[in-house]
Symmetry: C2
């Protein structure tokens, strides 16, 4: 099988089925490959093409990708730096204290935001984005500790998906992106 | 300006104008930001949206992104590993001896391929790709030395663009991607 076929999703499948294909394909692609840049790059491609195959509002997703812990930021003042993604150009760095991505990284908890304008301190990288889902990637013995992560665990990055319409994401998206975050976290070597 | 606007290209501009915008925006985005993952991620987004704004055949580009020198490969047997890109899921690693990407990395010279089927050892990551342009990113004191790179210089990665039609790229694409490779090479810190 050529690799590109992994991002071909059948029409008419449910959101659950699309996400399950993302998880299954990601697991295959990550097999014996622990390079985090490589794995995040392919994971962004899987997510993007899954959304584009789904009905409204999922097909309105306009950004899907990753930020990781900026190795240049200080432990007492951590920040995120842009990682592989699909969509338009994005903000390079995000402080843990800022916006939806920062909140997910700082708390270690998923942020499901139905209307980004209502989120305090929202960063408008793209004015077209109306709703957002951000899931922390938590790894044992790595990353930035948070109040909610278990002792020794830390946030190495986040999955970030934006949608061009309000209420683009729901609990199903949250559930599956959390599974993907867990898979990515344990399948890659983190700096 | 929100960052996403950097990837909005006016309709009706020439290929030269689109590439010049890519270069200008990339230079701005790389200012005081030398993280290579961040910079390659945004550069892939700029390229992708530039192609999509242009007439045929450029709008048929189906993959735009990067491979970098795999830090796990041996100096005597170097290979490339997938970096940030836009498009469908791609091959994770490519030996310097294989395909169009490998040839660019091994020789340190741009590979402009009008018909990938005619290229010996072409790797079909995506059977839809018909033509390809690969430009090496060469940096002083880094990467893998080649027969053509000046003493002390090496290949740290490649820019790879694929097109779903034959003859998707020409000398204009080659000229501007070589400028982009030079900008990226000097603007980022390489592992």
């Amino acid at each position: 099988m050529v690799h590109a076929d992994a991002s071909n999703f059948a029409s008419g499948i449910t959101k659950e089925e699309a996400y399950q294909q993302v998880l299954d394909q990601a697991e295959g692609l990550f097999y014996e490959q622990r390079n985090w840049v490589c794995n995040l790059s392919n994971a962004a491609a899987l997510l993007w093409h899954a959304y584009k195959s789904l009905p409204y509002p999922s097909n309105q997703v306009n950004w899907a990708g990753f930020y990781t812990l900026d190795p240049k930021s200080l432990p007492e003042k951590p920040s995120l730096i842009l990682g592989p993604f699909q969509g338009k150009v994005a903000c390079q760095t995000i402080s843990f204290s800022r916006g939806v991505c920062g909140a997910a990284a700082a708390t270690g908890q998923t942020q499901l935001v139905h209307d980004v304008e209502s989120f305090p301190g929202h960063i408008a990288c793209d004015s077209e984005s109306k709703s957002e889902l951000v899931v922390p990637i938590i790894v044992e013995g790595k990353g930035a500790a948070t109040a909610t992560t278990a002792a020794g665990n830390g946030v190495v990055g986040i999955i970030d998906v934006d949608c061009a319409v309000l209420n683009g994401f729901d609990e199903v998206d949250k559930l599956y992106l959390e599974k993907l975050a867990e898979l990515i976290g344990k399948s890659s070597d983190w700096p």
